[in-house]
């Protein structure tokens, strides 16, 4: 296996949790809700995902546990921001702090345990093609799932009526309410979808990336996913490009250290955020009007009845 092939495989693996979490957050934000708790939902997803897989011996059950944990975390967020109209930024930050603590508690008995990683696809013939075979036909199920998810989200947002209504709720909640749409219900589903994706993204780490659980193993990936949504200017297509780009940066950072390149690793880890800032500037210069971000993003909505 060549070095390039190895690097590409590593990039795909590092990018997949980013893509999963960012896809969920994109849907959440498109409905007008800013959930900064992605990191917290991910880490709880990682702990529960590992726990489920270790106890049952099944990666699928582990993944389902991760999803369920993410949804439960997002329901706390939904209760606070949608039900009680609490500030979304503060609640999201609190959710992350809660998640980090909670995952330590849940995961404490699993620390030091080991499971077998999710199997990789193997199609005789295809997977054996040199160079591209392993890359295209030899990934684990999560990689394919994440790409299918992005495609599904794109189709949902732009080709279905429900997607149109979700975008409408994120653009102007007062108008959506006036037309008779239940803004809070739409947003609740969007937040839950975001939680499910974040939980799955978290579970990916112990199930397919490293076969054990350590506290804090998400290591800021939730924040990168948040930056990624902005980087993609809330468009699903760009999310894929951004996720692989950000994944590549993290892998390059490791290799750069190995090769003794004189770039400080801190600078490399700051690159995704720097790129996001630059993209934001470019977007605001390029647009002649309208807004790229969902116009109601981060605002609390209380319907009058």
């Amino acid at each position: 296996m060549g070095l390039i092939e190895a690097i590409i495989l590593a990039v795909l693996a590092a990018s997949t949790p980013l893509l999963l979490a960012a896809t969920g957050e994109l849907v959440t934000e498109r409905s007008g809700v800013l959930n900064l708790g992605v990191e917290g939902m991910m880490i709880v997803g990682a702990a529960c995902g590992f726990g489920g897989a270790w106890l049952s011996g099944s990666v699928i059950i582990g993944a389902l546990c991760g999803i369920a944990a993410g949804v439960l975390m997002s329901l706390i967020f939904a209760l606070m921001t949608l039900g009680l109209a609490v500030n979304q930024v503060a609640t999201g930050l609190a959710l992350t702090i809660l998640g980090i603590g909670l995952s330590g508690l849940i995961g404490s008995r699993f620390v030091g345990e080991k499971i077998s990683l999710a199997p990789h696809l193997y199609i005789p013939g295809l997977t054996d093609i040199p160079l591209i075979g392993r890359i295209l036909f030899g990934e684990d199920a999560f990689v394919y799932l994440s790409l299918a998810l992005v495609a599904g989200v794109w189709f949902f947002l732009y080709k279905t009526r429900a997607g149109l209504i979700l975008r409408a709720a994120g653009d102007n909640h007062a108008s959506a309410h006036a037309l008779g749409y239940s803004v809070l219900r739409i947003r609740m589903f969007a937040v839950m979808f975001g939680g499910a994706c974040a939980g799955l993204a978290g579970a990916y780490l112990p199930l397919a990336y490293t076969p054990f659980f350590i506290p804090g193993m998400t290591a800021g990936r939730g924040w990168i996913a948040l930056a990624l949504v902005v980087f993609a200017s809330w468009l699903p297509g760009r999310l894929v490009i951004g996720a692989y780009l950000f994944g590549a940066v993290t892998i390059l950072q490791l290799h750069a250290q190995g090769w003794g390149v004189g770039i400080p690793s801190q600078l490399m880890s700051a690159l995704p955020y720097l790129a996001t800032v630059i993209v934001l500037v470019l977007i605001s210069r390029a647009r002649t009007g309208g807004s790229t971000a969902p116009a109601a993003l981060g605002t609390v909505f209380v319907p009058d009845r």
């Binding site: 149109l164 975008r167 653009d171 102007n172 108008s175 037309l179 008779g180 647009r287």
Partner: protein, 523 residues
Amino acid sequence: MLDSTPAELDTGAAPLLRTVGLTKRYGSFLANEAIDIDVWPMQIHALLGENGAGKSTLVKAIYGLIQPSEGEMRWQGEKMVLSGPSEARSRGIGMVFQHFSLFDNLTVAENVALGLDGKESFKDMSARLEQVSRVYGLPLDPKREVWQLSVGERQRIEIVRALMQNPKFLILDEPTAVLTPQEADQLFVVLNRLKAEGRAILYISHKLEEVKRLCDTATILRGGRKVSTCNPKAETAASLARMMVGGEIKEVRAPANRRTTIPRLVVNDLSLEPDDPHSVRLRNISFELKGGEILGIAGVAGNGQDELFAALSGERLAQDPSTIVIDGHAAGHLSITQRRKLGAAFVPEERLGHGTVPRMKLSENALLTGHAASGMVLHGFVNTAATLKTVDRATETFDVRKAKRDPEAASLSGGNLQKFIVGREILRNPMVLVVSQPTWGVDAGAAAVIRQALLDLAAAGAALLVTSQDLDELAEITDRIAVMFHGHLSEPLPTADASREKLGLLMGGSTLGQKEAAHAVGA
């Protein structure tokens, strides 16, 4: 759908919609109290009342947005309970909102689709949209995003969206507030056509002349109750206003001995680049305003009035200091505070957030504009007694009603807060007052107080620049009126010569003077 009249319309015995004792309570506050109205097909029914009279609450109940606390609605004689707007729409009730219920970042077609129930494909819907807009003479491009469109075009989307449902009953909430007189006339043609097709229209407006022209019946609300139902054509605007207010409105009177003095505010060839993509470029604006004079600026919102205000107040600076001259001093490069020190005062359009800080007390808000040119600050310390005194004086002089001596700005009603803001500036005895939309969204009583205060200030020798969408207001208090269109300011007309037709043409972008100017050049 449009080639035939709506099905099942009969002008039989039962009204299309009847409300019986309709009541809506918010806590202990009665927004609507036992309201009975009947709306018949082939009728334009006006709903009149001041702000807070309960008009919006009533139409929200009819559109299913809120549930009445008591009473009932009958649709074609049968009891109707609405679960929400989509049920109202399916029965044939359509609504055109005052503050448009549009989505800026979605296309026209997507906006229309959101107002329908999604039973037809997007493609069929788009085709029907083009057909409806053509049939009614309301042209729209389905693929444009809303933020690119003018106010008039946005309203067309709302109307077409309502018409796409082939409604039997159409509610319009102050549809002409944002239109030029000509655009309003075009709307009336559409409304009369809808009426002739057998539909019923419930029409909310503040503009009484318009109601007299257009409507067959008027129901007047005051303080949440129905005052009367009458034929507006048989009433005068004054008698309708009396019913709305529940008493005589104080007549605004121009003081007799008003004389114009020296030029106080001169603008010479002011041009300003827009600072963000949504704003308008100011082009070569010039006028001269003398002490004792009130100049009105008319125009459809968004034609550069906000930008002109920003340039005059110093929120944005002009490149050349001499383009703005306040009381003989070149001021184009001066900050707001420096301009205030020259004797200028400014009242922006938006009361909360621009005119005042909503969560600050009135005394603190008084300090924010008064700190430079009054005794409110001594050696860097705030003189609280002086700020409170300003609040008290404004309260007394301008009849500001509030719950306590020094409440937060946001707790005042719109009219009372506006009286406070105008009072705060007038009490500083400015020589130049620039005021934007002085009575926007203010009830008739408070509006009269504010207009009288402006006239009195002019009589005291100050120069006033008043921007307003309300042509009647400008006719009432100004000496000359100029019109803003696409960042240009027209030559001011004497108010006596400024007919609605002339102003309307200018607001729509035609240049009255062009022919005369051409003649002058030719001669």
